[in-house]
Subunit: 543 residues, 2 copies
């Protein structure tokens, strides 16, 4: 089995070969009108990491890895910044140990050891963070990164209540594969689906499949079990409660600073049998936004309601770049979705959208045999049609960056959310900041936007930008562009992150966003749960 | 204008006259086969409270009341226990001062004064707590109850994003009256609607109108502004965010121990124009529950999906006591609801329910003029039909207890939530505990149940019980029955409260329910925000 790449998205076998890099260089040369020379990607054998400074106790030695590859692969996530540093073999502060507990008792033992020794204890999730969510801190004598991938089981399925007890180390595909024989699905598909874990999703308030209504993992958590240096935290399984502030909502989004989530009861879904979708085009992004607003305010709650601006519609759907595209999708395990899509299309047209009748697709249940064999939808191979193509492109996108890494390209995505009435001004500000900085720093570049999620009170815009930078200067160029966009988001009143989390990357802006007194409360809570301050130090608050 | 009654639900004019009490006594005599003598309710003039022990600073004197009536009316909420104590003129520990700030600056000044002096500072909300949510604590030299009813304005309406900035002291009817001219409604109708405030709803995680999907006030809060002894806490207006644990979710449900909520941006709704409803009957409560489960798991999200057991169906809908009743209702400001109710009825029938076609009611928009005049729905006088009757009965229920108070009747409601698969066992346990204790303590009594809210993973059952007790011994009898039911809820795995909050009443069971480490974190957070421990002492945690 192929190991995880220490720098690229995916496994070592997904690392680009020389030919792919040459093609990528040639493509960038054409696109930017500059000569882009090919390069040879780094190899694991090139790694020269600081030797481990600490040794695990004998009782934990069997679950602790110290080899360079493993430690390098657990140093950075997969943001542009992370990839460049890893590609350049820059690992000045790697973890000393990668611990892979196989039981909750071992999680506790590792954490207790770290807490007693004052070593930083960093939950790894699935390693896909784009915000520096598990990057080791400076100033610690020892760093232990904790990888829960051995705790990957669906332990219990309650089909009556539609909930499942799942270990935090389960990755997307494995989790779905275990639910499928029961006829259920979590239906949480962040773009990192393949290389992210349930515990990571919960700790970072991951945003998933559903574009409306319940979008974040938050709403699918029924209860949380979390190991802290002060003991075990476990909430009751409840469909709803009014008993004090929600304990789960303190654990959700805690980014590893309060404890290590070991399992959760999650609300699960019947596997979709009925689907309906339509792609509606608009003369402008703003016109499409008005349609999305009306659809979500009518509370039709489509599973998909993604709006692509003119640029994204051209890139993703082969359109001519003059029109925006609203993709509306309904799905259900129980009910035909014909009427729902009809209602949505009526609103979409009333808002000025164009759609051919033939582009409104409604599908009946798959044949029973297909479903039983897992041959439908998600993760399976039989998925047909535009939605399937979208999903494959969506999950495949992170791989696309592998071949261009190190060629000088500076490219990233960023996301936010804001209320509808302030969105147009924010869109101007963020695009303006990105384009101006790209022009200044890279001599030009592209900016595009889509809505990944929409709420009755506002959209979650997701910006994609790129420019041709100078090899070796990518990080400074990146940081200038990212900072300008983040400043614009803050000034416009948005959130520094809708679903990518805070991490080290967003921390300066997060500090401006959250109420200072909430940070006080969180610091106090952290001191109570993690008295020696070892859990993911530097994330969210300084203690 | 009539003052609030110091013991009954509503205003002084709602206190029962001698004739009403005689009729109530006769009714109880017939129902229980015992002689129930009439009594004379207490009058405000009978109050003899401990004189105020403290005086406000001169700068706050104008907003501070110290008369017996005001202080008595701000001592207890409206649980059975509260009403009996107030009725019996038992006010051993009233607030010394009732402060009515007229600006946020005055809220801050009152709180600063309390914090500096070590006086308990207790937010009153609307005074409708049924759990001792603002009952003064022992052990303080001074008690200041803070009544925000002067801060009752809708300050801003953002019709594009469907949100409004509302002061925390706004009561239900006033809040709706201010939104109505804009064409919007909050649609949050707890049974306490008339005498509860936005701030109280948020601080107690109030459950409202919607029986499915977004039920608690939690989901309608866009941002919160809260005054604490350590300063001002204000979150950004955001439709969604993944930036750390939600600050709002720490304020929501904090029951006044972290700060005093002064305003909030709330998600509002278009006023309903389309409605559809049906009443479906079942051979048993369990059969009706199965239908409710299927409807909510199909994600049709009806606004109403309330299931009455055989006893409640007889009492509330004139049925014969042999069948359960599922009331399904859809409403929308945007879309005809015909297809939604057809889908729901199909599921309801498939689950064994009976409904005549003529009992499926679908209504078109009211004439434009009516709507503009506010003559539709909620709070208006023109509301017709079964749903309107239900709402009037629902909001009127608390008044019904006024005439029986002091006659020896012991009666209360209690509520919880639990997952579907454990619900049947819990229902047996809670009914068993209530009936056994009623039999032992009261020599008999009645127990009934309805679902007030249903979720994909479980229902929120609401129990109503009563028995004929002994005058003067009601409190001990009540406490024994309440404790037995609460123990049963805990043992069955439910929550001690789905939407009534914790208060002093539920505290012993809450302490068993929440993770101990969450309590540690909450204590630490409270110490950070309220270093002198003056805010609603004894609620949720001891510091």
């Amino acid at each position: 089995m192929s190991r995880r790449s220490f720098w690229a998205w995916g496994l070592e076998r997904d690392e680009p070969g020389a030919e792919q890099v040459r093609e990528a260089a040639a493509r960038l040369s054409r696109r930017y009108g500059v000569e882009v020379a090919s390069v040879v990607p780094p190899r694991s054998a090139d790694l020269r990491l600081r030797p481990p400074r600490i040794r695990p106790p004998a009782s934990l030695a069997a679950i602790c890895a110290t080899d360079d590859h493993d430690r390098a692969a657990h140093t950075y996530g997969r943001s542009f910044r992370d990839r460049i540093r890893a590609y350049n073999l820059q690992f000045p502060n790697p973890p000393d140990i990668v611990a892979r507990p196989t039981t909750e008792a071992e999680v506790t033992a590792v954490l207790d050891w770290c807490s007693a020794s004052g070593y930083a204890a960093i939950p790894y999730g699935g390693g896909s963070s784009t915000v520096g969510g598990f990057e080791p801190p400076d100033g610690y004598d020892g760093i232990v990164t904790i990888d829960l991938s051995a705790l990957d089981k669906v332990l219990e399925v309650d089909g009556v209540s539609r909930a499942a007890r799942i270990q935090a180390g389960a990755y997307g595909p494995g989790l779905e594969a275990q639910l499928r024989p029961h006829g259920f699905t979590l239906r949480h598909y962040p773009q990192s689906f393949e290389f992210s874990s349930l515990g990571g999703w919960i700790a970072t308030r991951s945003g998933g499949h559903y574009a409306t209504n319940h979008t974040h993992i938050d709403d699918f958590v029924e209860s949380v079990r979390m190991v802290t240096p002060s003991g075990l935290w476990e909430s009751r399984r409840l469909p709803g409660s009014g008993a004090g502030p929600s304990p789960d909502r303190m654990a959700i989004g805690s980014e590893g600073i309060l404890g290590i989530i070991t399992e959760a009861w999650m609300r699960i879904q019947a596997r979709p049998q009925y689907r309906a979708s339509a792609g509606v085009t608009y003369a402008s992004f703003a016109a499409g936004a008005e349609a999305a607003r009306r659809i979500v305010q009518a509370k039709l709650w489509p599973a998909n309601c993604r709006l692509l601006d003119e640029g994204e519609a051209a890139a993703a759907a082969g359109m001519d770049g003059s029109r925006a595209l609203l993709i509306i999708g309904f799905e259900s395990g129980e009910l035909p979705q014909d009427e729902f899509i009809r209602h949505a299309v009526a609103i979409a047209r009333d808002a000025g959208g164009s759609v051919e009748e033939s582009d409104i697709r409604i599908s009946a249940p798959a044949a029973r045999g297909d479903v039983a064999a897992g041959g439908d939808a998600d993760g399976g191979t039989g998925r047909q049609g535009a939605v399937g193509a979208w999903r494959n492109a969506f999950l495949g996108a992170p791989y696309q960056r592998n071949a261009t890494t190190g060629l000088g390209l500076v490219a990233e995505t960023l996301e936010t959310a804001i209320t509808w009435e302030r969105w147009p001004a924010m869109d101007d500000m963020v695009r303006g900041a990105l384009q101006d900085t790209l022009n200044r720093v890279c001599g030009g570049g592209t900016v595009s936007c889509r809505f990944t999620h929409v709420y009755p009170d506002g959209p979650a815009p997701y910006y994609t930008w790129e420019g041709m930078g100078r090899r070796g200067a990518e990080l400074e160029m990146y940081e200038e562009i990212k900072a300008a966009a983040s400043d614009a988001i803050m000034a416009a009143g948005g959130t520094i992150t809708h679903h990518h989390a805070v991490g080290r990357l967003h921390r300066p802006w997060y500090d401006r966003q959250r109420p200072e007194l909430f940070a006080e409360a969180l610091r106090a809570a952290k001191r109570a749960l993690d008295p020696n301050g070892v859990l993911n130090p530097g994330l969210l608050v300084d203690v």
